[in-house]
Amino acid sequence: MRPESAHHIQLLTKSSIRDVIGERVSTEAGRHLGLKTGSVRSAKIFTVVTDIPQNQLQQFSVQALQDPLLHDLYIDQLYHEPQFQSYLLISKLPGVTDDEGISAQKTFCDFLNIEFNFSRQFIFTQDIFYIENELSEKQLYLLAADLLGNPLVNHFEYGRFEGQIGYVPEVHLRSKAEVRLMDIFVSDDELLRLSKDYLLALDLKEMKAIQAYFAADKTVKRRAAKSLNKLPTDCEIEVLAQTWSEHCKHKEFDADIHFTNLETGQQKTIHSLFKTYIKRSTEIIRQRYIEAGNNWLLKIFSDNAGVVRIDDENVFIWKVETHNSPSALDPYGGALTGIVGVNRDPLGTGVGGGKLLFNTNVLCFGRPDYAGELLPGQLHPRRIMSGVVKGIEDGGNKSGIPTVNGSIIFDDRFRGKPLVFCGTGAVMPAQINGKPSWEKPIDPGDRIIMAGGRVGKDGIHGATFSSLEIDEHSPRSAVQIGSPITQKNMADFMQQAVGAGLIKCSTDNGAGGLSSSIGELATISGGARVDLEKVPLKYSGLQPWEIFVSESQERMTLVVESEQWAALKEMAHHFEVELSDIGEFTASGDLEVCYEGKTIALIGLDFLHDGVPKKELFAEWKKPQHSEPALPQELDYTEILLRLLSDFNISSREDIIRRYDHEVKGKSIIKPLMGEDGQAAQDAAVMRINFKSMQGIAISNGLKPRFGDINAYHMAAGAFDEAVRSIISVGGRLPDPTDSSNRFWTVNDNFCVPDSVYHPQTNPDGKYKMAQLIMMNEALFDLSTTFNIPMTSGKDSMKNDFVRDGVKISVPPTLLFSMVAKIDDVRKTITAEFKAPDDLIFLLGQTYDELGGSEFYQLFGHLGANVPQVRPQQAMDLYKKIALAQEAGLILSSHDLSDGGLAVALAEAAFGGNLGCIIDLPETDLSLPAQLFSESHSRFVVSIDPQQRGKFEAIMGSAAAYLGKVEDDQRFLIRRRGKTVVETDVPGLKSAWRGKLKL
């Protein structure tokens, strides 16, 4: 229905101006959907739902909305020409973030000099496309749903345009606030149904624990004192479900796992993977640093992000998370929310307000040219990729945080659930008002302040949702779209408010919303009381429990002393950040939630946080049978190299990288693409920390999912080494407990695995998958304790399966290591591309017959058996020698060997400088394919000044094998025993490498 007072202001790109948006729609509709649209004209519609005199509307439109050089303006009479036979109108569904509408409203208030009011949105934006050709309804819907919008967040109108639009996305909810009692004193079957019906994602043991808690006399008495029934309220059950979700409590990583090795008969029980491997490894490492008197590990595993010391003045904070399930449903919103969401982790660590330094992302998709079947509700991999990339673009660019590096892996097993890893690093002063910044002091009586966005239905059940498989009942409210500008304002505000001493500490509102953030902070003071009616809402009609668990974005929870509240509120007003005092911290031992004066939830903090029963899980290991393939005798290695370079997994990411601002803040030193024509891919990002010194950090990541098909341990170890060697390659130094210069390394581990809980029907190989998970953890422990490189934070995502119509698409077990290491002087770092003709090229590290899981075998459709293995001691020795050579300034270029092995690394090193090379492969027993394409770990291609050869070889010894020379003429030649095996030129290789991956 069109409300009486709704006005439509339309800005149509003038016909004299090139309509870039319309052109793009036309091109992409043809390219991706095979639709011939003819010419497309684009326009924006602002729907104003407020009483405003016509002349004022006219003035506002002309003076404040229209760009007279670009737009024709239509008010209420929309543009409408017979030459366009079809149209498509895309609006946002009610309650979906409409930043542009809000910005229009802000400018409306500035125009009229009235105060902006957060409480009601009255300007909404819509996009309309006029299409020359007559398209069927089905084609128009395809265009709407598969290219320009998403039915989960958009409303579409299409057909032949008659000049009218009928839709205003105002939210109308007529439900009355009520608190329901949940009858949990029922049979086991009914308990399980309750869990399913309410999307609680709790199993029977957990439901029974809740039942027992509410049945206990002590609970009944405490609750009666607050006039609460014996039966829990909906709010209480929802709070428990959020807090106990896999997402928040990591129940599988905390479970007792009974492991049987079917090969050896060995049996053991692992009491918590997290404690046994991850936490213990970091504790062992920390002990070594403490004993040597050089501990830079300030905070591990206990806050939103880990904290390490840079120097006496500054600390470094960083966190990497996943946002997989939302990205499967709405790739743009999912990735955007992933980025702005992970920004809030360092922003809400310790006291909070850290300065956000960089973003990083790692993405796993199905192949963009996937031609197989799609299940209902499943988006095409290309669609997921372009949406996710756009989300990361907006999330980083609009927040002014450089996206400094990333990685993309294609494998069709990611076509159901993509993996979207988002990370953010930040710097915070070590001391704030004379106290350590990384601590979180809270005392009873401190106020609970909600800051930032308002609360709506969006994101309700996000925490429990991500702990479930995606199926046809997935709630629409799980989809939400972030607002980078709202968060940018809040981040600016927090930085200033923390500096002014107005904020005692803070945390972010992520999964589980207020229930999780307040529930967790309450453990510090010993209790909290919240008044939900004080929480500002986007629209009325939310149930109290919904307010408490909503995951509406861009919100922080601040802890503020009463005396500071007035000044803080004043400051927030000037930054256009809304603050609300919604309760106080107590020492009652309870989380108490009130609504309009009545207590609607009272849960003991002990039970809330420690009451969740331990899961018992089962794992069985049986070595899978793999064998090495027989390859054709005669292979054209030049052609193979060209095919490898144009494979999705190796090809240039330039088209994507350039969408991301990777240098805002002016601190980037090694960017994702370097060289005179900006086409040299790099191993790790390097950036300065500030403008005062030349010290900096290197940022890398490692993941090797395909190796896990052969062996999960070696997959995990390889991922670890890949992240380490990327940093070594650019000039990082391994950490050393005896080193007193705070040369920190800080790692986020992110596990993304398919459902690994055994079930005879739905997950018959669950025990094997659980055994793989154990092996990945063992590798993490072994590698980190060997290298003295600690995990400081991390995350696990345990249900990466897409299930529909009885079909299950599961991701391969994936473990990402994201690493940051301190760099003493960024000017001494090393980039990957060859620098000058006649420089000498060396291979560092040992090559083995390890083609298992390689890109080379993949070309022939084989997996193989000989998976690359990390030899940690050998790797460390090499890395130390490299450090010596780097310190002496001997290494002029360095590129680590990864996908595609030596041949690909040489080609990539050649691209950046537009220089060629002539290589004579060293004499060895290895096969030619192994020499060229083995993906053995801990190896580098480096180049040096010919005059320094003696010095260089003296340091490196047998770890360096001479390969050949950099050539001026762009020839690319590889010879073995005098015979040419690869012969081509750099432009040819480069065009294969650059031509493949287009958005």
């Binding site: 760009d67 229009a104 940018k488 304002n489 030193i669």
Partner: protein, 276 residues
């Protein structure tokens, strides 16, 4: 020696304030970074400064077109003393002071009519809109400085490299008259150029398809200057994507980035023309 006072504004999604302020610090100026709300509340007056800097960023998320909402704020919103910020800017310029806008700041100056401002009335004579490529891009470009342009910001600079980071950088003029006046008065001071320094319309050397290949404008007074590329992202030679290769060939290259020259120029100009 006169201490040049530089004001960098921020807030509402502006995000290059830190490197902009760093540039002035490196040039020995006194620099203050201030949230625009402080200016609107008149806690800080631009008149206490010699140069006003509008940094790049995504003010209001580029909603309604880049810098449109910010420009509206400057044009319409009453400050504490009832005048608009645009009134303040007029007064500031009348006092012989300087304004530079980069990227989003340039877009704001153009959309408010401060650039090119041939008519002298702060009327919009040009605009910046979507790149012909249809996408946001971060890439380094080379710029050719128009000879004899008289801009104090560009003293002694012939070509300049910097990154562009925008989706709406295509400069269009209102009409032929404006275009001709811009040419006649030498206001198109920066052109996108190929590696040899020749102005070009070829993508990607010209990243957006701007008219006259124009990357930056000045006004007839030469005291307002704006450009799409980000010189403040090139304060150190090590910011350049080819720094490692260039240093291999020529180890003695200076450590300062070429982008710093613009800020050095203007600080020196103010220093030399202001009595202590």
């Amino acid at each position: 020696m006169y201490k040049v006072k530089s004001l960098v504004v921020t807030g509402y999604g502006i995000n290059c304030e830190e490197e902009m302020a760093a540039a002035y610090e490196m040039c020995g100026a006194e620099v203050r970074t201030v949230h625009l709300n402080e200016i609107f509340r008149e806690q800080v007056s631009i008149h206490d400064f010699d140069i006003l800097n509008l940094p790049g960023g995504f003010s209001f998320g580029d909603d309604l077109g880049s810098a449109k909402v910010l420009g509206n704020k400057f044009r319409f919103k009453n400050m504490a003393g009832a005048q608009t910020f645009l009134d303040d800017l007029r007064e500031f310029l009348e006092a012989g002071k300087y304004i530079i806008g980069v990227c989003n700041g340039f877009q704001a100056l153009v959309k408010m009519g401060l650039l090119p401002n041939i008519g002298g009335q702060f009327e919009q004579e040009a605009t910046l809109t979507f790149n012909n490529s249809g996408k946001y891009e971060d890439r380094w470009v080379n710029m050719k400085v128009r000879a004899g342009n008289g801009s104090p910001f560009l003293n002694g600079i012939d070509t300049l490299e910097s990154p562009v980071r925008h989706g709406e950088g295509k400069l269009l003029f209102r009409d032929e008259k404006i275009r001709q006046a811009v040419l006649a008065q030498n206001l198109n001071v920066l052109s996108y150029a190929d590696a040899n320094g020749n102005p070009t319309a070829e993508y990607p050397a010209n990243p957006n398809g701007a008219e006259l290949n124009c990357a930056g404008l000045t006004d007839p007074s030469r005291r307002v200057f704006g450009l799409m590329p980000h010189p403040e992202a090139y304060l150190s030679a090590y910011n350049h994507p080819a720094w490692a290769q260039r240093r291999r060939k020529n180890p003695g290259l200076p450590e300062a980035g070429d982008g710093l020259k613009i800020y050095r120029n203007i600080v020196e100009e103010i220093r030399n023309t202001t009595k202590d």
